[in-house]
């Protein structure tokens, strides 16, 4: 049965507000920050990640709403009809600068290697934008890096941490792993796991989501950081993760012709920025020295020796032909490697169907 067509309620029609003197319509439920983004405003944020529930921690996104005494956090406040909002007054900019100066007083590092993670430049970029020198508000430092956590994937450099809790929230809200949490309170809060242990002893699955949302590089991609000293610029190439059937979009990071890291694509239809431990960190096989570089065939004594492609292909073809002749078409079965590119996976099924006449074909990702 057809659904009756709903007439929009009057309040939906009247969803108009004013931003910096300009009228703008909005969808009920939209936050002021979301409206500001549509309007091309550059409201600064540090605790915001559009995949997560708005948190309201950094307070950089505050805006003035006419009729209210104090500014409100635009990321947590919904737009309402008739609301008049100012996103960039001198007072707001002054408070934002003070807030950034307070943050930087704890986190003095002016440069962070971009290989640390997708969001790792957020704080340094705001620093530059607001001309924060790091000279004000000197005082104690709260972060404590976990140098004892030697896991090969995630660097826990909490000296850079600004307690935005994006890592905690992404782990809970996106991954459902609840491996990381906030310990203590106030200036002494620390990002931690159960009983302050190592990641490997926690509920962590090393998916790397915390790394990719961290706005300071405090949580960082240890594998990518191995290439920090390489002089070439970082290039990103869009691809699809080869491991399983989900088809997560990734950006392959390279320096020169070397693959140095992998990043989940936020606009990937299948994963929207998510990855698992394999897709995120297990790429060393690509350039591994044990990888075959030439075909091998077995000699009469049964040991492998290098061979030309022609020789190897002839040997394989003869083997298939004999099996088909002796045992029929269903005696052959092809499994494509999940690590092979998609073109190869396509080719192997074509091959087995066309040459053997069987549909016995699969990919290890399906298992």
């Amino acid at each position: 049965m057809n659904q009756p067509i709903q007439t929009p309620a009057p309040s939906t029609l009247a969803a108009v507000m004013e931003m910096d003197g300009q009228e703008v319509s909005f969808t009920p439920g939209e936050t002021i920050y979301e409206v500001s983004q549509r309007m091309g405003r550059q409201v600064p944020t540090l605790c915001y990640d559009d995949r997560l529930d708005p948190f309201g921690g950094c307070r950089l996104c505050v805006v003035e709403v006419e009729g209210l005494r104090n500014p409100v956090a635009s990321c947590t406040t919904k737009a309402t009809p008739g609301m008049k909002v100012h996103t960039k007054t001198p007072t707001l900019e002054r408070h934002r600068k003070t807030l950034l100066e307070l943050v930087v007083s704890e986190n003095p590092k002016a440069t962070i290697d971009p290989l640390r993670g997708s969001a790792s430049q957020e704080l340094v970029q705001l620093r530059t934008r607001y001309g924060v020198t790091g000279e004000r508000f000197a005082g104690h430092h709260s972060g404590q890096s976990r140098t004892d956590d030697a896991n090969p994937f995630i660097l826990r450099d909490y000296d850079q941490c600004i307690s935005c809790y994006r890592c905690v929230r992404v782990c809970a809200e996106q991954e459902g792993d609840y491996a990381i949490s906030v310990r203590g309170r106030g200036f002494e809060t620390k990002i931690t796991t159960e009983f302050d242990g190592l990641l490997q002893d926690s509920a962590c699955t090393f998916c790397g989501q915390c790394v990719q949302t961290c706005p300071t590089g405090a949580l960082a991609d240890r594998k990518a950081m191995r290439a920090q000293a390489d002089p070439e610029p970082i290039a990103a190439t869009r691809s699809v993760c080869p491991y399983c059937g989900v088809g997560c979009s990734v950006d392959l990071l390279s320096k020169g012709d070397k693959l140095v890291g992998i990043r989940p694509a936020r606009d990937g239809g299948a994963n929207l920025g998510a990855l698992c431990v394999k897709g995120q960190f297990a790429f060393d096989f690509v350039q591994h020295e044990d990888r075959l570089r030439t075909p091998l065939v077995r000699g009469d004594d049964g040991t492998l020796r290098p061979a030309s492609w022609d020789e190897a292909l002839d040997r394989a073809a003869a083997g298939f032909a004999k099996a088909l002749h002796d045992h029929g078409r269903h005696s052959t079965y092809a499994i494509a490697s999940g690590r092979a590119p998609h073109e190869s996976a396509y080719a192997i099924q074509k091959l087995i169907r066309a040459t053997s006449g069987t549909n016995y074909v699969d990919n290890c990702s399906r298992a």
């Binding site: 921690g57 950094c58 307070r59 956090a73 406040t77 007072t91 002054r94 003070t98 949490s181 796991t193």
Partner: protein, 570 residues
Amino acid sequence: MPTPTDDELIQRWRSEPAPLLPLLHAFHDRDGHLTDDALRAVAKGLRMPLADLFGTVTFYHHFARTPPGQRAPRVCDGPVCRLRGCDALLRALPDATPMPCAGRCDAPIPVLRGAELLVGTTAGGAFGAQGDERGWPPPEAFLRLEPSPLPPPYPGAAGDGSGECVFAEIRTPGRATLAGYRATGGYEALTAARSPSEIIDVITQSGLAGRGGAGFPTGRKWQAVADAPGDPKTIVCNADEGEPGCFKDRALMDHDPHALIEGMAIAARATGATRGFIYLRYEYPDTMVILERAIAEAKTAGLLDGFALCVRRGAGAYVCGEETSLLNSLEGKHPFPRNRPPYPVTHGYEDKPTVVNNVETLCAVAPILRHGATWYRTLGLGDHAGTKVISLSGDVVRPGNYEVPIGLPLRTLLDEWAGGPGPGRSVQAVTMAGLSGGLLGAERLDVTLDEPCLRSHGSFLGAGGIMVFDDTRDMVAVAHEAMAFFAHESCGKCFPCRIGTQRLSERLSPGPGGSGPTELDPWTTEVVDIGDAMKATSACGLGTAAPLITDSLLKYFPEQVARHLAARKA
């Protein structure tokens, strides 16, 4: 009684409302601290992530994770107890650690040990000799159990209590029992046949407003909950009383528990709520016993039918007095304050419509219904409606809880009611709203005790704690301790407060913990900039109030600030 097993504790609590805190307390009381195994058992029993639970437990300063834990004494080193020798007591008691103001500023220094609240004294000068610990009598000799003091006799005009509302009957012997409460008119308001809208009308007309700090009109809050869709609705009594220098709610609950219970039951009837919680601060274990006994009495007498009321204890966190942090704490979540809107009236406990009211607010309800809206209104002076309990402490002759008509001159309270600062002394400053309203200097003691007047001077009445400092006190030291308190209690959710309270505290610190400029001008610029950002952008009232300390210090005591900086430079 055999020691309960993990399983028995979990079975006891897992199906109760708001089970996390009582379950953690059960383990904490049993073992003296919360072991890893206890946390594992609780996480499994309540099906919550272990990392979350671990983080949340570490939020509360009274949950110990290692021995001697709960069995070691915790001594109040709040602003008033510092004037009364808490340092000596801390040195004398083995394993003692400090805790923030424990809400007994009108009595000897409170000391928590095990599950008990004791008081310790510096009597006989035994603690007077700073630093020399040898030859002192065993510290035990100075600790004793002592019920909390009653409010002093009403010092107002007629001396017959006619100016009081919540304290009008509190001194009547036996008032804390059901029989005694009923003998003085108790539960008449609850049992009188009044419709929900009649109740809300009277409360609205009386002008009763929140006595927990924010002053929101109580009738409007109840109406909003009554109107809000969603069931079940909840009445939460905020008995967290964590503000330093505030101890009024404790007096009301200890000596007039049924007044609170009746107020909550009336609120439930007015709003259609079927469940209720009293969220009680950890430092009031005696009050817990009194409240549970009184609730049991009222239940047995059939006065709470259809209203499931229970007490939940906090575990040491001032911010849990902030209503949305309190709700998260009750729900067993990490007690960060929530983003508002939505407000608790529509999305409160378990996201259902909820009234959160202070103890004093709720205690005023039954008398108002019995005597009428006009009666209550006219208890105030001039245009001001009603009364406010002031917890007065520090350098005054008669500290204690005083129920004043709103609009009373501060001077009248200080000098006539409480006997002034003592012979040969003058008042140098008072705090307002506990610590949250900052300081008022000697030249500003001409204020009247009402929000319009106090706000016009950059302060506010809030929960009504006033601490008095005479002319011998170092006001920078007082301000530093106040800011260190806010830094200790900041939840860490928002940047301005998490870093701001810390930086301000460092700037006020005299010792090695200090940092920041040592010249007055750059010092002032930094302190003012931090304070302005905190006031404008903090996510809750803790962060917006804390800079009133530095603002008022600079306003009233610039020369003491200059001396502080000169000493730091030297």
